[in-house]
């Protein structure tokens, strides 16, 4: 399995590509953009995009799907039935599905930033979308959302092994061990310093 990262200036988002060398299947996570460079890279490595994982239905994480679907017949996994006007396979918390030979994904429902927010765990990689970034948690629009998000992160992500790798929708990567110790979202002093507590992100 190979993992590649592309920074998308559109929304300062992270796009991830997982490539299975045995089968040539590729999995795209949150395609904010589908650029010519990304297409060239996929073709150069002999991959075919069969799967798209959508952590949540915000435009700066899915806009590339419209272009992508003109080129590849990919199956979209999300918690909404339609993504960018394409039908998706609706997944729920705890679902597991095969990605390619010997590789499966587990769905973690982590609502709070948006009601449909998911994280995908593939082995020791977790694609967290906007729920959890290095040092920060996702923004929410209510106190309830904030509490819900913190609880979901604690129960479903921070309970994983410390060396589990977190690949967020924005910003640099991290690990569970680092987030347990340094994330400001679980720091009451940091919360006090914030004046606009529940803004939407971007």
């Amino acid at each position: 399995m190979k993992l590649y990262f592309q920074y998308s200036p559109y929304g300062s988002s992270n796009v991830f590509l997982l490539g299975c060398d045995e089968t040539g299947d590729a999995i795209l996570v949150d395609p904010a953009e589908f650029t010519v460079n990304l297409l060239r890279f996929i073709e150069k490595n002999g991959y075919y995009v069969r799967t798209v994982l959508v952590t949540h239905n915000h435009k700066h994480h899915i806009r590339g799907i419209a272009t992508l679907m003109k080129i590849y017949e990919a199956r979209i996994y999300a918690s909404k039935a339609m993504i960018c006007d394409f039908p998706s396979t609706v997944v729920r918390d705890g679902d597991r599905f095969d990605l390619c030979r010997g590789l499966d994904a587990e769905v973690l429902s982590v609502p709070g930033h948006s009601s449909d927010s998911l994280a995908f765990r593939i082995g020791k990689l977790v694609f967290t979308g906007d729920t959890l970034q290095a040092g920060l948690i996702g923004s929410t629009i209510s106190k309830y959302g904030n509490a819900l998000l913190r609880r979901s992160i604690s129960q479903k992500i921070l309970n994983l092994a410390d060396d589990t790798i977190l690949l967020p929708g924005h910003g640099p990567p991290s690990t569970v061990g680092a987030e347990k110790r340094f994330n400001l979202g679980f720091d009451d002093e940091a919360k006090k310093n914030r004046t606009r507590k529940y803004d939407l992100f971007l």
Binding site: K2, K124, A134, G135, L136, D163, A178, L184, R196
Partner: protein
Amino acid sequence: MFPFNACVERDCDRNSVSGFDRCARHMADPRVAAAGISEILLSTTNVKDLNLAGLEIVGQDLSARAFYGCSFMGSTLRNIAFTGSTFRMCFLDFSILQSCDFSKSDIQFCSFAGCAFTDCAFENSELVHNNFNGARIEECTFNSSNLYNSRFIRSEVTRTEFRDCDVKRAYFLFDLEKDVSFKFSNTQEAIRNVDQAYL
């Protein structure tokens, strides 16, 4: 990305070191693994998918190398020259780095969270999209480097220079700074309060 082969020791959830069936903590003598991996590092310029978490490597010239998808988590690196090296998607969380030279390096999308840096040089480097959260940084230099979108949340920075750096969208939140210089750097474009982080 480095393989996630579990350590064979019962109840251990760490990954085994590349080429071995155990993690560094459960090896009879991790120095044997460190010596073997040092040989690999010295013999190649493109280092891919290697897991050397928890090992101690001392006094090597690893300059002008490219590291892709490697794990150095919890490692100790002393007196290592990484000058002119490339790092992509590498994880060095909670490592100890002493007297390491990363000058003229290109380091992107890597995590150094919780690291303890002493006497390390990152001058004239591309340090874009990296995680330095919770790092203890003492007597280091980042002069003339690009730190765009890197994060120093809750880090402790002492006697360190960030002169003439691009710190646009670099997060310095709840960090402790003592004898730190940002002379000639665009500090007004750095993220200094939590509200800015969500804009």
